[in-house]
Point group: C2
Chain length 392, copies 2
């Protein structure tokens, strides 16, 4: 029997991160690789209470087929919590924000369509866009995020005009960097001038350490920005709930794509999350995540300073989120380093796969939220040893 695969199946590839995570499951390896929220932040007791309440009060509806748009009270909660005027009718609940990326590509990307991304960008977005035939082009970026004045040249002309720019302006995965107020304002201005739609992904925005980040891009031009959000980092990823806020022109098609993709996101999960958050739970829960993650970041920064200080290794100081971006000394390749590091008991994600083009072989992503403080010390020390050995 011959199964003929679609051409787009060639654009589907095993995630590099996923393959790395498999290796790191071996005992004795401390992983700074995965983007896993600390399980210490999961409100297990609240979920248990919410689950019991939902099933007792509303079990039949929670377990039945439901509207593709999502559970109306949760859509209203999302709309009210966002810092600009959002019509709940424009909120689509998705099966994690990864599904939002898949639906966006399904609805906006033709075979060969140009799509702009930051340099580097979120790997999961590249994986979602690629099977729909996106030709992804990186926009020039520096340590503070993308350079808005390079956008017009990157956007292309006529039939080759980019369908959208995908941007993760706040505590980006993989770099942890944040786009500041001036660049945000300029980005939205340039995008409006050249008529370029923006797709803003904001799973980490609430995880700030010192000051809240500037307003989202969507708040500045709701008709020109499609906004993706998630409950994965403020509650728990295992319920797979995210959302899209889409302009009126795009919402109906996203909704139809959602219906074809999985009919609707689990109604039980939507009600559970709504039950947990409806009384203001996030207002005191999210600050506890911020405090924990800031302490973890500081711990990793101290370890890096202790182990790598004065050498040729550099890293940034993220103002929020879960990741830090490290650059190895000249001549040391992160991908080549990885097996040696795993051998020494530490895993990370090489930076290369996050680049649409021209990967930086010296870059790596480190998560500072999954491993505990002692593990971070051990892992960073091991990493320093293998880097030192590699240079010697």
């Amino acid at each position: 029997m011959t199964w003929t695969l679609a051409g787009r199946a060639a654009g589907l590839n095993p995630s590099v991160i996923r393959e790395i995570l498999k290796v790191t499951e071996r005992p004795g390896v401390i992983s700074l690789a995965g983007g896993l929220p600390s399980p210490r932040t999961f409100p297990i007791a609240e979920f248990a209470a919410a689950s019991a309440t939902v099933l007792e009060r509303d079990g039949s509806a929670a377990l039945q087929y439901a509207a593709s748009e999502g559970y109306r009270p949760l859509r209203e909660f999302v709309a009210e919590r966002l810092p600009w005027e959002v019509d709940p009718e424009h909120v689509l609940i998705t099966t994690g924000s990864q599904q939002g990326l898949d639906l966006v590509a399904k609805v906006l990307v033709d075979e060969g369509s140009r799509v702009l991304v930051e340099t580097p960008t979120y790997l999961g977005a590249l994986q979602a866009f690629s099977p729909f035939g996106a030709r992804v082009a990186g926009v020039r970026s520096d340590d503070e995020g993308l350079l808005p004045d390079t956008l017009a040249a990157a956007a292309g002309q006529g039939a080759d005009r980019a369908r959208f720019l995908y941007v993760l302006p706040t505590f980006q995965n993989p770099t942890g960097r944040m786009l500041g107020e001036q660049r945000r304002a300029r980005l939205v201005e340039v995008a409006a001038e050249i008529g370029l739609p923006l797709v803003e992904d904001n799973p980490y925005g609430e995880l700030w350490f010192d000051n809240p980040p500037p307003a989202p891009l969507a708040a500045r031009n709701p008709d020109g920005v499609l906004y993706l959000g998630s409950f994965s980092k403020v509650l728990a990823p295992g319920l797979r709930l995210g959302f899209v806020v889409a302009p009126g022109d795009v919402f109906p098609k996203l909704l139809q794509a959602k219906q074809a993709a999985d009919l609707h996101s689990p109604g039980f999960n939507q009600r559970m999350v709504h039950e947990v958050v409806r009384g203001g739970f996030l207002d005191h829960h999210v600050p506890t995540i911020r405090t924990l993650y800031r302490a973890q970041r500081d711990h990793m920064l101290a370890a890096l300073e202790r182990e790598f200080g004065g050498g040729g290794t550099s890293w940034n100081v993220p103002a929020g989120g879960m990741f830090l971006w490290l650059r190895l000394p000249e001549g040391v390749d992160a991908l080549e380093l990885l097996p040696l590091a795993v051998e020494a008991g530490v895993a990370f994600v090489p930076g290369g796969p996050f680049f649409a083009t021209d990967p930086d072989p010296r870059a790596m992503r480190l998560s500072f939220v999954t491993a505990g403080p002692d593990e971070i010390d051990t892992a960073v020390a091991a990493l320093a040893r293998v880097v030192g050995a590699r240079r010697a």
Copy 2:
């Protein structure tokens, strides 16, 4: 701001059923339209207990990111329960079996690919295949399902060769019909002869009323059949859990497509379902669904005989599942009848949308599981009145 939609967005359309269901939400309308399992069959207490157990025993893992393949014990349960030898490594847990259809199309359908379906077929499959550019062709079928000997002619040649035949052989949605043993054997034989892969969808197979259905197609040729299953009809649809059993050639690509689509199905839900089913719960639960649905079917058959007997209206006697297929007298169009029926307090789904080509305007789908016995009596009587008035 101009959002340019992908060409495939034109292939996305609001579901006819969905639009009908909106109308039927008005008070006083009894719906025989939706394919909603009876909420009386939802094991709410068991889910409540399972949820508490999972969160207490395994909360951190249940709420964390997880493997795209699914929760290993649930994959093993699925493999063991299926009536042929299935390697758990070939089981992919999906976010409802609708996602299975979306992933299958993503991986197997190119723009313009010929895909074969029954006449009529499941509307959700047409919706899943269409945005990926499938050119869907109906295979000749009668009251007992598709005619295997017409398959070779329908399969096409060379570049136009069909990528697969999508078939729902057991208590089909929309007709409730079942493909018998001889046709199954012949279908698998013909498909193997001409090298045509089969995609078998089996959400209703456990809901038999008198005798178990013949073995699935996949049991007869596991390498030539991709099998879709669901927990929606034996437990509850609101958890959105289904599965795909895929041959070795296709599994890795489906898995990568799954990862790009939503990373993984909710781990919490997977553990909850596993906790409910692992002790043999389905062995005594599913028979109670069968008993209930058989009684509901019989009640609807009696009402139809009473109200329509001796007229020009005909219907089948499904041996399982949730649906019955009714054919109106000559000259009465189901789509035109619908607004009059809703006015009279009853809703159904016109048969037309279920046909890839050449719709039967006189056909309609009736669900016998959602409305209770008294409602069925009232609804069928109302339907008979509007049909009678239409003919007069």
